[in-house]
Structures are given as C-alpha cells and as structure tokens.
Amino acid sequence: MRTRNQTRPYDGKSDQMRIVFAIGFLLLALVGSVGTASAQEGGPTPSPDEVNAIAKNLYCPVCANVPLDVCGTAACAQWRQQIADLLTEGYTEQQIYDYFVQQYGPSVLAAPPASGFNWLIYALPPAVLLLAAFFLGRGLLNWKSEPVKGHRATKKSSNKYRQRLENELKARR
C-alpha cells in the first residue's frame, strides 16, 4: 500500500520549479505591463526646453499677441502641458501645430499658414518691393538722362537760343 507521501516522495525539486515558474511569470507580467505602459505613453517625457521650442511658435489663444512659451496664465500652463502630453504620445512638431490649429483656429500660429488668402502676406512684400525697385530704377535712369524743363537749359537748347538771339540782333542791325 502506498501512502500519499509514499506515492509522491518529497525531494524539494518540484517546489523549486514552482518558485522559478512563479518568478518567471511575475517577471513576464512585469515586463508585459511595463511594455504595455510604455506602449501607451509612446516615449520618454519631453524636457521643458523641448516643450518651449514648440510653444514659442504658438500664440496664447486667450491673451492676444503673447507667445505660449512665456504666457503666465494658468490656461497657458495647461496648453504647455498639452504640448508635453502630445510629444509623449509621439506627435511630431507639425502634428502638434495642426492639432492646435484644429482646436483653436489659425490665430494660434505665429505666422499665418501659407494657403488661400494668407498667401497675400507672403507675396505682397516682395511684389511691392520689386515694383518699387523697378520704378526707382527707371526713375533714376530717366533722371540721369533727361533734363528738367524750365530750370536749366541744355547746351543744345542754349545754343539754339543763342543762335536765335544772334539772328534777331543781326536783323535789328
């Protein structure tokens, strides 16, 4: 007859194995949870300088004409935190700008997006500059070559005048 103890004699190895399995399972779980967590976070926490580098190019949607990186209001602190969260989630710089434009309108950008009507702000200064340069150049060249009427007689005209004067004087004599 075999007692319970006799049927499975204790040698200590099976318990060790159980502990090994348990530790292995725990480690796997730990690695898995860390992996899941890191997958959820998308990357390391960005530094304040990384956040500010993006916030610098965005304007506070509430306080007009104040860049987001230096705005002191609580709302702006939240928006800076939002940038940090988006960076953590793996958003690129451009995606963050797009996100803010989508949320708060194009006025959050430091310069108007180069599309539609906004092209004017980029096209007009060089156009005006070129146009003005053209007229300035033309004016300068004309100025150099054309005398001003009524102020200074040119050699040719003064010669003509002198000739006429001489002729008239001769005729009187």
Binding site: P48, G72, G105, P106, A110, A111, N118, L140, V148
Partner: protein, 686 residues
C-alpha cells in the same frame, strides 16, 4: 466742483478750436488779417484752458475723487502718489486729454514764433493745428469724457453720466479699480509722454507742409522752418520707442525687448516715415530735389501718427498695449481718411509746381544713395503696415483670425536692415552731385579693408552664423567709416587752424552740428545693431524645475535655488519672490530675485525677472511656477542675452546725436538762403 471747472475749460477749448477754424475761414474770405489774429489768439488760449482741464483731472486723481468714473477706473487707494498723478495717461479718456494738452502746447509755441516772413502760411498752419486739436477734443467731449460721474438710482443701479439724472444721487465707490499693473513701472510713467510728444510734434511740419501746398509756395521754406520741430518730434518718438523697449524687457518677462506687437509697430511706423523724411529733406535743401516726395512723406507721417493713436486707442487690434477699447474707432477712421484725401488732393494740385529744380547726375551721388535709403525705409514701413492690417483684413474678408508674429517681420525686414547699414557706411563717403565708382572707391577702401580684417578675426573666434557675421561686419564697416569721417574732418581742421586734435574735433562738431550730430546718430545705430545681433543670433535659454539647493546651468552660469517667500504689500500685491544664487563657474556673483506679483484689484499676475547685467550679456531669470505651500521646488526659465545692453547704450548715443543735430547753429542763423543757391551764385561768378 473742481471737475466741473475742468469740464468747462475743456468745452471752452473745443469751442475756441471751432471758432478759430471759422475765424481763419472768414479772414481768408474777407482778406482781413484781424480774423486770422483772432484765430491765433484762440489757438494760444486753448493751451491755458487745457492746462486747467488736465490739472483738475490730476487733482481729482491724486485726491481719489471716485465719483469720477475715470478716477475710479484708473486709480485706487493703494496706489502711490506718483502713479495716481500719472494715471492721467493711464486710461483712454485721460490719455486723449493729455494728447490734446501736448498738442495745444506745441501749437501755441508755434503761434509765438516770428511770422513776418511767413504771413501767408500762418492761417493754414493755424487751421491744421486747430482741426487736429478740435478732432481730439470732440472725441473727449462726446465719446471719452474723463469728467463723467457715477450716479446711483433709487433701485441701487449705478451708471455714469455727465449730468445728474432724475432721482439719482452721486455715487462714490469705496475704492477704485487701480491702474493696469503693466503700467505701474517707472518706464511706463515716462514712455507714453515721450511717445505722445513725438506724435504731436509731427503735426507741426505737416501743418506747414499743408500751408505751403495751399499757398503754392514751392520753395523749401516750410522745411527750413520746421527742421528743428521735425528733429524734436523724431527725438521724442525715438525716446518713446527706446523707453517702451526697456519697459517690455523689465516688465513683460519674456526675455526680450521688442515683440513686434501691433501697437509697438503703430509707434514705429511714423518713426520710419519720419526718418525717411529727415534724410530726404536734406536733398531738397541741398539740391532742390524730391519736393513731391517730401510732401508725400510728411503727409504719410502725420496720418501714421493718427493711425498709431487710433490703433492704441480704438482697440481694433487687441494686444498687451491696447488695454482700452471704445467706440471712437470709426471717428478715427473717418478723420484719417479725410485728412489723407484732402492732403493728397492738395498735393496733386501742386504736383507740377513741386518738380525737382535740378537733375540727378550720378547713380552713386549722395542724393541717389539717400533716395535708396528712403526706398528701404518705406519698404520696411510697407511690410510693417501689411503685417499690422493683415489680421484685420483676414478677419473681414475670410472671417478667420490670424496672427502675424515676429517671424514674419524678422524675415521680411532683416535683409532691408542690412542694406540700410550698408548704405549708412557708403553714403557719408559719396559726394553730392558727381560721384563715380572710382572716387567712392578711393575714399572707401581704407575702412573697407580694416572691416574685412575684423571680419576675418570674427571668423577666427569661431562665429559661424553667416547672418551674424554679415551683421557684425556691417557694424564694423559703418563704425569705421563714421570714425574715419570724424578723423578726416578733425585732422583737416587741426592743420588749417593750427589747433590740437581734441580742440579741432570739438570745433568740428560745434561748427557743423547737423552733419556730425547725424554721424553720432549713426554710431548709436551701430551700437543698437550690435545689441540686436547679439540677442537675435546668440540668445540661449533653458527651463528647469529645481529643488532647494539644486542648480540649473546655462552658458557658463549656474543658478542655485535657495528659497521662495510669499508676502503681501501695502499697494495691494501678493508677491511670490524666489531667491536664486548666481554663479559663474564656481564663483558666486550675486542673488537674483525673480518674482510674480499678483494684483488683487485687477486679478492680474505679472512676472518680474531677476536680472544680472554686464556689458557682455544679461542673465535674465523668470519664475515660472513653484510648489505652493512648502516651496521646496520651483520652475525657472533662464535666458542668456548676449550684448543686449548695447541696445540701451546705443540708444543713449542716438539721443545725444539727435540733440547735437537739433541744437541751433550760428551759421544757420546767419545764412538766409539755401546752400544750393549760394553754390549756384558761386558757379555763376565763375
């Protein structure tokens, strides 16, 4: 009672302005000088009347007469005496009254000059000054009256009205709202008056220009009469801009001094057109050129002055400066449009008459380079104008709000500033009338060669940024050219008069203040440019949260957080002030005290930076955040601003140069006719 006196003085000044305009019209119609003299007296009388009005308002502000709506909105019991007095220009209505008072002072000063040589101009100068003054007084009386009182009805409702409504009693709030915290700074006490002085002084040359247009005087008498007024206007406008920049640096806490804010640009635009005008009138005086252009520039400057006031006062563009918003915008718009249209109509009538007397003979002559200078100034002006109005245009046309920030202005104007610096170096060495590449090259090669050597030295120090290198080279070049001009002049004078060099140098400036004052201004611009290059190309910044005892490093400096204290002040602030020890390497330099002031009255926080200034750079420390109760940790943002102090030093040199240029010259008094006429007479004599 006192406030009633102020109101009636204001009303009388307005009626006198209206009467003065009518009297001038009558005088011109009947050809009776007595009417014009009467209008002149009306103009002169407006000054004491507006002085009474402004003083009564100051009295009410200082004595906290909270029954006046303006006093209740701009002061509070906790404000110190000097801030209560200067709250005169701290709010909308008061600042308009201040503007008008300055305008009447300047116009009265003009009325007191000797008019014997300019009798024909006088009526039109009076009318322009009175129309401008009358417009501002009408805004005050009908839209933004600082003498409006607060009244309380039987139901307890409080409203504002000039006269006592039925069944209402005067209402006296226990305390006022207090001045906008942004304006509670010594810089802000002086900045607006300087800016306003600059604005109103430009009305005088404009008035003379319009008088010349109406009377058909195509000579440059109006320019010669107003030269000093223009310089004074320019001086005050420059001072206003400089003080405003310093205020922004000290108070706004964003690490810089110029943010291309629309209201900054509003003050900058008349400065740009005014600077172009100051250069261009020299050509008219010297060569009889650019008469039409000078008229255009002064008309533009006048309307930009009104436009600047409109932007600041109407709230049409919201910014940190545009603290007040009101219904006066359309009035401004109508006034600007009307004055611009009338001025341009007058100019068009005289267009032929104002043609240049001579012709440009060389593309490298000084007049040609001055024209190029004007072209660049006006180009910068156009870029600024577009940037300011574009958000408005976008909102009107597309319904979409956009921001035009510093990036646009810096990219668009950067190359133009560099071109201006280059011209500043070349133009002083070019000759009037005839200048060839050969003659110009002969005078330029020495400073050019030394500046190129300096450029190589800069490259050898490791500076690799092409923009910075170009800028610094241009600064060196302009500095050398200007110094060379001083040297050449002083040496020549020293040789001919047998004076020692120092005496000759002093005599040189004293005998030709306009020219050498201008050169000193150029030196100031060079120093300012060095400061701008430093902060634009080499600024460093970092941010970090520090526990007590921890350090944050930036550019060789180290900042150690020591403590943070919170306390209340008698003027109604809750102050959170950090103590941060600054080290350079391991050497302790001094503690910095960045703080945040929270104003209870206006519920507005302000970030005041901690500053460590040297001639080389500024360490600019901003308190961003902190752990509320224990203050065991705090977040700081630190900027290292290289060469920024050269902006302020350059500003002082700039102001000094303007004073030298504006100082009366004996020679000018002696000479009655323009230089070009004397030159022609000399030529005719053979």
């Amino acid at each position: 009672m006192i406030a009633d006196l102020g109101f009636f003085a204001l009303l009388t000044a307005f009626l006198l302005a209206v009467y003065g305009c009518a009297a001038v019209a009558m005088g011109l119609w009947r050809k009776e000088t007595a009417w014009v003299s009467s209008a002149r007296m009306a103009m002169l009388l407006s000054f004491p009347l507006l002085t009474i009005s402004a003083l009564t308002l100051v009295y009410s502000l200082v004595n906290l007469d909270f029954n006046l709506e303006y006093v209740a909105s701009a002061t509070s019991r906790s404000m110190p005496l000097y801030l209560r007095a200067t709250a005169l220009w701290g709010g909308q209505a008061g600042s308009l009254l201040f503007w008008s008072w300055l305008m009447s002072a300047f116009a009265s000063a003009v009325m007191l000059r000797d008019w014997r040589r300019d009798r024909d101009l006088q009526p039109w100068v009076i009318i322009v000054c009175l129309v401008t003054l009358g417009f501002f007084l009408s805004l005050i009386l009908f839209f933004e009256n600082p003498f409006t009182r607060l009244w309380q009805g039987v139901t307890g409702t409080v409203w504002s009205a000039l006269w006592q409504p039925n069944a209402a009693q005067p209402y006296f709030p226990i305390d006022g709202n207090g001045l906008n915290p942004l304006l509670r700074h010594p810089g802000m006490v002086i900045h607006p008056p300087m800016l306003y002085l600059g604005f109103v002084s430009f009305v005088i040359p404009f008035a003379f220009a319009i008088a010349a247009l109406v009377t058909g005087r195509s000579d440059d008498r109006w320019i010669r009469v107003t030269r000093r007024w223009t310089l004074v206007a320019w001086l005050f406008l420059s001072l206003g801009l400089l003080l405003g920049s310093r205020w922004a640096y000290d108070v706004l806490g964003w690490g810089g001094y110029w943010g291309w804010d629309p209201v900054e640009i509003a003050a900058f635009m008349p400065w740009l057109s005014g600077t172009a005008f100051l250069h261009s009138v020299m050509i008219q005086e010297k060569r009889g050129l650019f008469k039409q252009w000078n008229m255009l520039l002064i008309i533009l400057t006048y309307d930009l002055v009104i436009f600047g006031t409109f932007l600041t006062r109407s709230g049409v563009l919201s910014s940190v400066h545009a603290f007040a918003q009101s219904a006066i915008g359309p009035m401004f718009f109508i006034f600007i449009s009307a004055t611009l249209a009338i001025s341009l109509f007058l100019l068009s009538r005289r267009w032929r008459q104002l043609r240049s007397e001579t012709q440009m003979t060389s593309l490298l002559s000084r007049e040609a380079l001055f024209l190029l200078n004007n072209f660049i100034f006006v180009s910068i002006l156009v870029i600024c104008f577009l940037g300011v109005i574009f958000p408005l245009a976008s909102e009107i046309i597309t319904g979409q709000q956009v921001t035009v920030g510093p990036i646009y202005y810096e990219k668009a104007t950067g190359p133009l500033w560099a071109a201006l610096l280059l011209l500043m170096g070349v133009a002083p060495l070019s000759a009037w009338r005839a200048s060839t590449a050969r003659t110009l090259g002969r005078s330029i090669w020495k400073p050019l060669a030394i500046s190129l050597v300096l450029l190589l030295l800069l490259v050898s120090t490791g500076i690799g940024n092409p923009g910075a290198l170009l800028g610094l080279w241009l600064c060196a070049f302009v500095f050398l050219v200007t110094a060379y001009e001083f040297w050449r002049g002083a040496r020549a004078r020293s040789r001919t008069r047998k004076e020692n060099l120092a005496v000759a140098f002093w005599g040189l400036i004293a005998r030709n203040r306009r020219r050498y004052g201008g050169y000193i201004i150029h030196l100031g611009v060079v120093l300012i440019a060095i400061g701008i290059i430093g902060i634009e190309f080499f600024q460093q910044e970092t941010q970090g949260s520090l526990a007590v005892g921890e350090r944050l490093d930036l550019g060789g400096y180290s900042l150690e957080y020591e403590s943070l204290a919170e306390f209340q002040t008698a003027d109604g602030r809750l102050v959170d002030r950090a103590v941060v020890n600054l080290y350079q390497g391991d050497q302790f330099l001094r503690p910095l005290y960045p703080r945040r002031d929270y104003y209870f009255e206006s519920r507005q926080p302000m970030n005041i930076p901690g500053l460590y200034s040297t001639i080389e750079s500024d360490v600019y420390l901003r308190l961003v955040d902190w752990e509320p109760v224990s203050a065991q940790s705090a977040t700081f943002k630190v900027y290292l601003n290289p060469l920024v102090n050269w902006v302020w030093i350059g500003g002082l040199v700039f102001i000094l140069g303007t004073l030298v240029a504006a100082w009366p010259e004996r020679e000018l008094i002696e000479v009655a006719e323009p230089a070009r006429f004397r030159e022609r007479a000399a030529e005719a004599r053979g």
